[in-house]
Amino acid sequence: MVLLSACSANNKPQPINIGQDNCAYCKMGIADTRFASEIITQKGKIYKFDSIECMVSFYQDHQNADFDKADLWVHDFLHPKEWVPEKKAKFIKTDKIHTPMGMDLIAVKNDSEIREIKKQLGGNSMKWSRLLQYVKTNMREH
């Protein structure tokens, strides 16, 4: 689950190994790269997640210095091999797509893709700050 990278200098995201990697938050095996996300802490610890909602919940549960300067990565929903840093990503909540933890959040890399998604699936886009708040209030109480 938790992989220690060998002190990689550039903190590039590691690829998701379908059928091998489990989500660090919900324990599920990661089966769909479209929603898979990753946190690399300042110390270089890598955490992989099966959904954006899991990454955000995990991030909010770990408020410390190592996570404050962590890199957060999401996959571009339309190009599920491409990593996008959370600062550049655009997020959409749609009810046409079902994500592993049921919050139906997806990410894309730019505004033209947002338009493309809205055309095909509908839904509402949201900013990172709004997303943090949304996950905090709507993640199922377990």
Partner: protein
């Protein structure tokens, strides 16, 4: 003879009405054949009325999505194949009381945007999907917001792709009162997947070699799965965020590999795990944040770990189980234990029974110090069976420092519990 007309008239009229009723409700058969008058199922559906039967002759039928919006039965003759060409969803049912039987569905298209299925049931009830063969589809049988349907004797073999391109075999979302029986699933993302599914029975199915899980239950309640075989999956059965789930008479076998489990329970409250056989899994039962689960009369045979229970799992009872030749019987994540282990049979138990009541006279501590260490630092596994470890284990048993003091079987059995599976 003079019979009044008043008396005779009803006798004449009633049979007339009866014949009318019978004629209008008599189901007709519509034959679909590539060299007949009706060549596609879509054409047959246009001609059909509720209650009709569409019989599909041998042949490969290619085309866009078939929308079944009438209450019909669609039956395939031997060799009737519907092909999605790797592009389309094949059949979508939006009418109640539809039966789909004896057809082969193949190549439903992979899509990142739509959950394309071979057979999709949308907001319907009383449908039957029976005796079909599904090969190489993105999703196999997909039920959304449906009730009182039966899925039986279907064979669902996925595309086995180890990436996003593989969907669920039998996939249920927001359903109630479904019966899933005597199916075979293999090479799907999850063999059988439930999300928000209640009052559903899964029985006599075989789920093997799936990419992720044999059976996956999410946010579901009051479901039971019995008499199933889960073999060679990433995990056999996974139950997450569920309540009131019954797991009985199943075999969890050879779900083997790093971090693979027979049965994974995460936040299951109020469940029953009874009369199951766990054979050669890396971990037979993994429990995290699960409460009030009764685990009794199970056989745990030759697993890596029989039970891994995290300390946030509470009030679970492990009673009358057989723990036979597991590398480790029980491991926990901390020193706190609020679960009951009592009246089990452990092959690793070295105690004695002087008063011959069948219960060992000394308690059994199923968590060894070594299993605790390995759980924290997996490379320590290399020290297994060394004398150093044996000495440590004996010392820890006499004076528990790291392992939970309360995790003790006070009445370990001297003989195996009779379990029928």
């Amino acid at each position: 003879m003079n019979i009044p007309l008043k008396k005779v008239l009803p006798l004449l009229i009633i049979p007339m009405f009866l014949t009318l009723i019978v004629e209008s409700s008599e189901a007709k058969n519509i034959n679909v054949s590539q060299n007949g008058s009706v060549t596609t199922i879509e054409e047959a559906l246009k001609l059909a009325h509720n209650g009709d039967r569409i019989i599909v002759d041998k042949g490969v039928y290619v085309g866009n999505q078939i929308n079944v919006n009438k209450q019909v039965t669609i039956i395939g003759r031997k060799g009737a194949i519907l092909d999605g060409m790797g592009k389309y969803q094949i059949m979508v049912v939006t009418a109640d009381s539809v039966t789909i039987e004896n057809l082969t569905f193949r190549n439903a298209g992979i899509s990142y945007v739509n959950d394309n299925a071979a057979i999709k049931l949308k907001e319907v009830r009383d449908c039957i999907i029976k005796h079909n063969k599904l090969i190489n589809n993105f999703f196999g049988i997909y039920l959304a917001k449906s009730k009182y349907c039966t899925i039986s004797q279907d064979s669902v073999i996925g595309n086995g792709r180890e990436e996003t391109a593989s969907g669920g075999g039998i996939h249920l979302w927001n359903c109630d009162h479904i019966t899933i029986t005597h199916n075979y699933t293999s090479k799907n993302r999850d063999g059988i997947y439930f999300e928000f599914v209640n009052h559903t029975t899964i029985t006599h199915n075989v789920s093997e070699n799936n990419i992720r899980y044999g059976l996956h239950l999410m946010y579901s309640r009051h479901d039971s799965y019995t008499y199933n075989l889960f073999k060679d999956n990433h995990a056999g059965g996974v139950v997450m965020y569920c309540k009131f789930i019954t797991v009985k008479h199943n075999v969890f076998q050879h779900n083997w590999g790093p971090s693979e489990d027979g049965l994974l329970l995460k936040e299951l409250n109020d469940g029953v795990v009874e009369d199951n056989r766990f054979y050669q899994n890396s971990t037979a039962v993994y429990s995290e944040g699960s409460n009030r689960v009764m685990i009794d009369h199970n056989n745990f045979i030759r697993n890596g770990w029989a039970v891994k229970i995290m300390s946030n799992s509470t009030q679970n009872d492990f009673v009358n189980n057989n723990f036979i030749e597991n590398a480790f019987d029980v491991v926990t994540s901390g020193r706190v234990n609020d679960n009951e282990f009592n009246h089990n049979y452990w092959t690793a138990y070295k105690g004695y029974d002087l008063n011959k009541d069948g219960i060992g006279d000394v308690p059994y501590h199923p968590v060894s110090l070594f299993s605790y260490i390995v759980n924290q630092q997996s490379p320590a596994m290399i020290l297994m069976h060394s004398i150093f470890i044996q000495v440590l284990d004996v010392a820890e048993k006499a004076l528990p420092v790291l392992t939970p003091k309360t995790l003790v079987d006070h009445d370990p059995l001297m003989n195996r519990v009779v379990v029928s599976i």
